[in-house]
């Protein structure tokens, strides 16, 4: 009796352990040499578009394995992308902003060359409120004065929107938005806060005198609870808005479109965020979206060329990317990037700012 139970207890795990060790040994050897699956990392904003393209690619071109897309945020993705060349490092970086000079230097230092920059379309960063909300109208300067840590270098005292601008309703300032690791936050700071900040002539003068201090004053967001960091989960922000009609949310245009029965976009400078106003950049929160492809991997990772071609084929009007909320770039930009995608023209590192 006792020896039987003992046998049952030990035989199975023992055999399994041996099997697992054998498997891990061979997987370790295989993992280093090469890779037959494309890997993409980066922005959570570009993630839904890249996943849609990879999925379609895997269905249409059954000879390739389905690519893997990981949503890490633009900054963290750039770090992985620029870390080196080889099977361990990703092939594609999704970015909700252009590559920075410091990131390009990092790439060059680690031997990553021939990076191809492709603009896939446009995204809009919108501010929205519940349909039951006060129908606010804002300007970048209002938003800056309400959300900056030290507006124009003075301490932040505003509690109500009315404190910022007498024309606005007397409701408390509660804004749900992305955390600093997000590309959406970078773009929000650059497109809305920076613009509102530079509306003040004194700030423009400071920019020339002390650029570092200018950036700090213009993009640092208050941390006293009026701006609530809501993770990378934009659905959560939409839920919070429908629960609290006084709150304002910051997220990508595709979420506004998908939840049009619950939230509405707040006009900025009198311009309502719509497909058209974002596509022609008249809405202040418009930004281009990019993918970066590692040129050195083109002939090593099977399917990379075909995947990028698939992307270029599908970003037009009426394509499935547009149906998922991607805003199509103007025809000339779109065509220029299609040429880049088909010929893999590398980005000149000298032009990166």
């Amino acid at each position: 009796m006792i020896s039987r139970t003992m046998g049952m207890a030990w035989a199975a795990p023992g055999a399994a352990l041996a099997a697992a060790l054998a498997l891990s040994a061979c997987s370790n050897g295989g993992g280093n040499a090469s890779r037959d699956q494309i890997r993409a990392v980066g922005s959570s904003t570009v993630y839904p578009f890249t996943t849609a393209v990879t999925e379609q690619f895997a269905r249409r071109q059954t000879q390739f394995k389905a690519p893997i897309v990981e949503s890490t945020g633009t900054g963290a993705g750039m770090k992985l992308f620029c870390a080196g060349v080889g099977a361990r490092f990703p092939d594609i970086e999704n970015a909700s902003r252009a590559i920075k000079k410091s990131e390009m230097d990092d790439c060059t230092k680690n031997g990553v060359r021939d990076i191809v920059e492709i603009q896939i379309g446009i995204d809009g960063i919108v501010m929205a409120e519940s349909l039951r909300g006060e129908a606010m109208r804002l300007t970048p300067a209002d938003v800056y004065r309400a959300l900056a840590a030290d507006p124009y270098g003075k301490p932040q005292t505003a509690k109500l929107w009315r404190d910022v601008n007498p024309a606005l309703p007397a409701i408390p300032i509660v804004v749900y938005g992305p955390p600093p690791t997000s590309g959406t936050r970078d773009a929000f700071a650059e497109l809305i806060l920076q613009k509102g900040c530079d509306a003040n002539p004194a700030m423009d003068a400071l920019k020339k005198a002390d650029a570092k201090r200018h950036t700090a004053i213009c993009t640092k967001v208050r941390e006293d609870g009026a701006y609530v960091e809501s993770g990378e989960n934009d659905n959560l922000i939409v839920q919070k808005l429908s629960a609290n009609p006084d709150a304002v949310g910051v997220f990508g245009y595709s979420f506004l479109e998908e939840n049009a029965d619950r939230v509405r976009g707040i006009p900025m400078n009198g311009i309502v965020p719509t497909y058209e106003t974002i596509a022609d950049y008249s809405y202040p929160g418009s930004r281009p979206l990019y993918i970066y492809v590692k040129g050195q991997h083109l002939n090593v990772v099977p399917g990379l060329r075909e995947l990028v071609a698939e992307y270029a084929n599908d970003w037009g009007r009426g394509g499935y990317l547009a149906r998922r909320g991607l805003i199509v770039a103007p025809a000339d930009v779109s065509e220029r990037n299609r040429q880049i995608a088909l010929n893999f023209t590398p980005l000149d590192p000298a032009t990166v700012k």
Partner: protein, 431 residues
């Protein structure tokens, strides 16, 4: 003490007859009532606590089942495909041959499917179909190439809007469209195995849970085969062999602390050691399993030591007394008797590992992966991470799929616990 107190001599007291307690006085009655009240209060509090926790459980289950069960169903549209009229450049001979996949890939089935929908239900009707409707047509052709010679009705998945309308949760346009189709008997909503057999997708009508479930199974497998033997052997050694000294005390304290370390730390450890130092593949179940094994092992050691401690010493003494060796005592007597307790500890650790997300995010098991993992080194994701990813999706159709995935996770957990309880009862011995 400088002074010694004089010893008091007890003065003998006259013996008194003990007066029986008078239960009828008001003060006594009041005391009795207070005692009963305290008793009742305690019982009520206890019952209230049980009721509250049951209410939470019922709320969780009802809201999950209410939303999630719909996630297992799928609305389909009847699509009349007229293959001869569509003039596809396909013949049965090519499909029977070895290049069947290439032959199928060369044909634009997407366009053919969209045209068929437009012909059957009016211009623009292709929007009623899921983006992956043509995949159903493709698999129908693969299953039976003879359908290429005739007209046939194929059930294909509908778009998310129609699917939500069928389940009564959509805007007015989609509702109207759905009623029109329903009147023509062209739609059906039924239980679909696609959700249980498919993998991640960007379209809620095409997603499946199998990829994440298989990832979880592989990860748990690695965790179990590493953490269980190592944990049990450590517990046995520490209890039965190790000398009691400062070193074993130090080890005991370290293990107890390790069990309380937040899981994200193990994720960082996994990232630094397995990915950056040992060069293991990113997002692979083997790395996830290794990381979770580090987290589970201390729990097994602690539970195992307690179980081994509770085996009566008389059993060891009796075995040693009739000449058994130390190893024989441990493996023939102590371990089988301690096994139920060890299994309980193992299952608590495994259940925690199954629900863990934070350390797996660090090692890249949060990627979009459209095919189930083929082995321990293939990129994979696990059930809780999949739930997390779907909750962040733009499309409204993912809400019910997220709940459905939660149901699958709960069923998996219950099955795991069920096996553990069965094993425990089988080996349990009372004395």
């Amino acid at each position: 003490m400088s002074t010694i107190a004089p010893v008091m001599q007890p003065t003998p007291k006259p013996q008194q007859a003990r007066v029986p307690t008078d239960w009828t006085t008001t003060s006594m009655q009041g005391r009795i009532r207070r005692r009963y009240r305290a008793e009742r209060r305690f019982r009520l509090l206890g019952a209230g606590a049980v009721l509250l926790s049951t209410a939470f459980l019922i709320f969780l289950l009802v809201s999950m089942l209410g939303q999630g069960l719909r996630g297992f169903t799928q609305t389909e549209l009847r699509l009349p495909m007229d293959f001869p009229a569509a003039r596809l450049a396909l013949d049965q001979a090519a499909l029977a041959g070895p290049n069947a996949r290439a032959a199928l890939a060369a044909v634009d089935l997407e366009a053919a499917t969209a045209q068929a929908a437009d012909r059957a239900y009016g211009a623009g009707a292709y929007r009623l179909l899921s983006d992956g409707a043509w995949l159903s047509v493709r698999s129908a052709i693969q299953a039976d190439p003879h359908i290429l010679t005739r007209r046939i009705d194929i059930w294909v998945p509908t778009s998310t809007a129609i699917d939500l309308a069928a389940k009564g949760d959509a805007d007015a346009d989609a509702e109207a469209g759905y009623r029109l189709l329903d009147a023509r008997k062209a739609v059906r909503t039924s239980f679909s195995t696609a959700f249980l057999t498919g993998s991640d997708s960007t379209d809620p009508t095409l997603v499946g849970i199998w990829g994440a479930l298989k990832g979880s199974l592989l990860t748990m497998f690695v965790t179990l085969v590493l953490a269980f033997p190592v944990g049990v052997l450590s517990a046995l050694y520490l209890e039965e062999y190790a000398a009691r000294n400062r070193w074993t005390d130090l080890i005991e304290v370290s293990i107890n602390n390790l069990a309380a370390v937040p899981s994200i730390i193990f994720g960082l450890l996994g990232l630094a050691v397995f990915l950056n130092f040992l060069d293991f593949p990113r997002s692979a179940p083997i790395v996830g399993g290794l990381t979770l094994a580090l987290m589970t092992m201390p729990v097994i050691v602690i539970a195992g030591r307690n179980a081994i401690k509770s085996v009566p010493p008389s059993i060891r003494d009796a075995a040693l007394g009739i000449g058994a060796s130390k190893v024989q005592v441990v493996f023939h007597h102590v371990l089988p008797l301690a096994l139920p307790g060890i299994l309980t500890g193992t299952i608590i650790g495994m259940a925690r590992a199954l629900g863990e997300t934070a350390p797996l995010l660090m090692i890249g098991m949060r990627a979009f992966i459209a095919s189930p993992p083929g082995g321990l080194a293939d990129p994979a994701t696990v059930l809780p991470v999949q739930i997390f990813l779907w909750s962040d999706e733009v499309s409204r159709g993912f809400v019910e799929k997220t709940s459905a995935a939660i149901i699958v996770l709960l069923v998996f957990l219950l099955a795991m616990n069920g096996i553990a309880i069965y094993l425990r009862n089988r080996f349990e011995r009372r004395w």
